[in-house]
Each structure stands twice: as C-alpha cells, then as structure tokens.
C-alpha cells in the first residue's frame, strides 16, 4: 500500500504517541496496581500497537 510522504508522517506520529502512551500506562500500572487495568485494557492497547507496527511495515512511500 502506498501513501504520500505527509500521510506517512502523520501515521508515524500517531504510532509514536500510542507507543509512548503504552509505556506511560505500563509505568502507572506498575506503580499503582489496578489504576489502569481496572478500567482500561492494556493488552488491547498493546495488540493495537503490534497491528499498527505490522501495517507500518507494509506501507510504502509514494
């Protein structure tokens, strides 16, 4: 699949933000067990990250 340079940049930005968020949430969860996991599924967050990563590999610049 081909995207423009600008579209790829936006995709990378979103990917980076989701990755950093996952790390922050993991730290928050580690520091206080149950803060995130009771209301928000960190596993699903991580699965989304993997899917986006695989998707990113398949993307090419137009």
């Amino acid at each position: 699949m081909r995207l423009t340079k600008r579209q790829l940049m936006i995709f990378d930005e979103i990917f980076a933000i989701i990755s950093i968020t996952w790390i922050i949430y993991m730290i928050a969860e580690y520091l206080k067990v149950g803060l995130i996991s009771n209301y928000y599924d960190l596993n699903i967050h991580f699965i989304i990250l993997i899917i986006l990563f695989i998707f990113r590999i398949m993307l090419k610049e137009d």
Partner: protein
C-alpha cells in the same frame, strides 16, 4: 494549506491531550470524590477488585461459594485511602452456631473480628433496643425504653457483652485461691493458650517433657503483654503478685509436651486448639461446636460426649460435634487427637468460666444475665438467605499492595453442610468534608506508601 511542521504539532498535541485526559479521568475515578465506593461481587459475577475466596480446597464454587472448611480468606483492592469498610453479605447458614468475619490488622496474622451470624443472639426473645450502633437486649421485667435501659445498664453487674470493651471488672463472687497447689495432668503437645482467673496472685508451675524452648507470655485483661519468658528447662514457674482481679491470658509456644500444671488458681481454661497427647483425657467445654481430628492411627477411638459417642475411624478426617449445650463432658480414651472449638475447655469439672467478659458467644433465654450488649444486629431474612452487615474501622487495618485481607470463620462448615455465601457487597467510606486537594494529597501519600 498547513505546513508539515504544523500538522506534526497538531497531531502530537491532540494525541497527548487525549491520553493524558484518560489518565487524569482514571486517577479521578480512583480518588473517588463522592467519598463512597461500592463493589458487588458474587461467585458468578467476578470483579477484579475482589479476589475469589481461598484456599480453593476449602471452597466449592457453583452459583455460590460453598465453604466446606474454615478459615477461608479473600482480599479486596482499595483504590484510595478510606476510613471505613462495610461488608454486606448474603449467606445461608445451616451449619454454624456463629460465623465471624475478620479484617487483618497489625503486622502479624491477627484479625479484628466481627459477628456476622450468631444463632443464640438471633433466637433470643428478650426486648431489644439499638444504642449507638450496638444492640442491647434486656432480660429485666418492665424495661423496654431506651432511657430505662441506659440507667439499668449503669447499675447492673450482670451484663454480658460481645465484642465491645467492658468497663466492668470481671469478679467471681466468693472466690478464693487453692490454699496449696493443685496439680492437673493436661498432657498437651505443642502450643496452646489459656485463660486464668486471677485474684491478686497468679502461680502456675508448668512441667514440660522435651528439650525444646518454651515461650510463655502473660497478658492482662486488656490484652497487654505483661510478662514474657523463654525456658529450656523441664519446669517453669510463672508467679506474679499484686495483680488486678480479672481474666489473664497465657499463651505457650513450644514443641515440648506439657505434662501437667500445678497451680493455686482454680479457673484454668483452655482456648481454641489443643493437641492431646496419648492417654485418657476428660474435658469439660462450653463450646457450641467442636472439631476433632486424628493425625495418626493411635488417635482412632470412640469419644463419649453428653451420653453420645463419636467414632473417630479415619485419619485426618474432621469430625464435628454440633449444637452442644453450654456444658459438655468429653471422654477421650486414648488421646492423640487435635480438638478445636469456639469455646473454652477445662480439665477440672468444677471450674469452667461461664463467659469471657467482652466476648460472650453464647446466651439463651435461660441465661442468668440482666443485659446483653453486642456489636451485632439480627440478619434480614431474604427467602432462604440472610443478609447482614459488618463494618470495620480502617485506622489499624493492614493494607498490603492496596489490598485488605478478610477472614471468614465458620466453625462447623463441612462438605455435607457448607456455609453458603451468595454475594458480598463492599462499601468503602471516607470522612466527609475534605477538600479536593486534601483528598488528592492523601491519595498520593497512599500510592507512595504502596510503592515503597
């Protein structure tokens, strides 16, 4: 058309704002500004904030939790600091004279216990009033009003109480110590505790068999440790004079056998669990339920109690004596068993304490008390089930990993006759009137304590 740089900036800000908002919302839910948090859990309807009841070997889970042995435990997660926790439990009790719920307090395995269900109290037909969250029953003719009860309480010496500190001294009328030491053969293995009625002087001469250390602790009637000793000798004398009259508790930790105790104190009553060494034992108990277990073949025997007999024919099987009267004689021909009860044991027929002040467990319409005060309310009946509430102050609770730990003591529960819990509702409450920032700082402190 926006430049690449501007688009990058907008995407970054939007992303950070979204995820930080989620984080802040989660923290606000955790802090819970309403000051009350309620969690409902049942065997079918799990909740990540409440553990299952464990150990699993003592519980059968179907639509309900069926508790087949005791004690069992569960933990609950407390997301922010609260001041009080209330447990509303829907249960079915066909097995146990009384059921206790405890909250872990202090550093050790100690629990602050509250009554969930007590059949004697439930069946008591005396007039009742609620006074400062306590139930007060009166056995006095003509006394039914609150003011009459208050004035009656102040003047009465015949007050039985459960789970509330008694400010009245426990005095046995016409009591005097033995003039010379009397020896009782107890023949117990390992640890045990006993209550001794002391009138000025305590004198107990223990005889141990074995080479292990014995630790002896003496507590006064307010549960303060007043003496502690360790000995390797086969003989130890615990002697103190000028003591305030009342019930004193002595706990012995040892791997030795205690063969006998010689004493001038008449009332020497044993609590909770006793491991009887081989040989004949005669015991008197005021327990409503007694559990008996043989650990090896030498403990298999016929135990005679209240004109009945109980055949102990399988090792490690738990046998129960239920619905016992307040005076039950046990004749144990060959010993080598473990016995556990919800009352007291005495090796001397004449000297069994009627009740422990502040912790009476049994009372009937025939009881010789004028008042009964208990931190207990009769359960609400809902079909086959009962609903009752117990509450605990969290000031002294042990909080580990943001969790509270509870114990359920249902002596008498067995696989044929389990104690059934349908649901547990947990209500955390905070003191009202705190500002947001106070609550937020308390929350951070609470989190910090957990991290450390």
């Amino acid at each position: 058309m926006l430049s690449d740089k501007k688009i990058k900036f907008i995407v970054r800000i939007a992303g950070i704002v979204i995820f930080l908002t989620i984080l802040i919302c989660l923290i606000l839910i955790d802090i819970n500004l309403s000051g009350r948090q309620s969690i409902y859990v049942s065997a079918e309807d799990n909740n990540s904030k409440v553990s299952q009841i464990f150990p699993v070997s003592r519980t059968i889970v179907n639509d309900n939790w069926n508790i087949i042995d005791e004690p069992v435990y569960f933990t609950t997660r407390m997301s922010a600091p609260y001041d009080n926790v209330e447990l509303k439990i829907k249960y079915k009790n066909d097995c146990c004279q009384q059921v206790l719920i405890g909250l872990q307090t202090g550093d050790n395995w100690s629990y602050e216990e509250e009554l969930l269900d007590n059949k004697d109290f439930n069946n008591l037909a005396w007039p009742k009033t609620i006074l400062d969250n306590l139930s007060v029953w009166s056995n006095m003719e003509g006394i039914i009003g609150e003011s009459e009860i208050i004035s009656g309480l102040a003047n009465s010496d015949k007050i039985a109480s459960y789970n509330i500190p008694s400010d009245k001294d426990y005095i046995i009328e016409d009591y005097s110590d033995y003039k010379a030491q009397q020896s009782i053969n107890i023949n117990l293995i390992g640890d045990y505790s006993m209550l001794v009625y002391v009138n000025d002087r305590i004198y107990l001469d223990f005889n141990f068999i074995g080479d292990n250390i014995s630790t002896i602790k003496l507590y006064d009637n307010s549960s303060n440790l007043i003496k502690q000793d360790e000995t390797l000798d086969s003989n130890y004398i615990l002697e103190m004079n000028n003591l305030k009259t009342g019930i004193y508790k002595i706990s012995i930790s040892t791997d030795n056998i205690t063969s006998s105790i010689a004493s001038i104190n008449k009332y020497i009553n044993f609590t909770n669990q006793l491991s009887l060494n081989g040989g004949k034992h005669s015991l008197l108990s005021n327990a409503s339920t007694i559990r008996i277990k043989s650990l090896d073949y030498s403990g298999l025997q016929n135990i005679i109690y209240a004109d009945n007999d109980l055949a102990i024919d399988t090792i490690n099987n738990k046998y129960y004596l239920r619905d016992l009267s307040d005076r039950t004689y046990l004749d144990i021909p060959s010993g080598n068993i473990q016995i556990y009860s919800d009352g007291l044991f005495s090796f001397n027929d004449d000297y069994l304490l009627d009740f422990i002040p502040g912790s009476i467990k049994r009372i009937t319409d025939e009881s010789d008390y004028e008042y009964l005060i208990a931190k207990y309310h009769k359960p609400i009946i809902d079909g086959d089930y009962s609903i009752n509430t117990v509450s605990f102050d969290l000031a002294s609770a042990t909080i580990s990993d943001n969790k509270l730990r509870f114990i359920i003591g249902a002596l008498g529960s067995s696989i044929d006759n389990p104690f059934i819990i349908e649901s547990i509702e947990i209500l955390y409450e905070k003191k009202s009137g705190l500002s947001f920032w106070t609550e937020f700082i308390d929350y951070l402190k609470y989190c910090w304590r957990n991290i450390r």
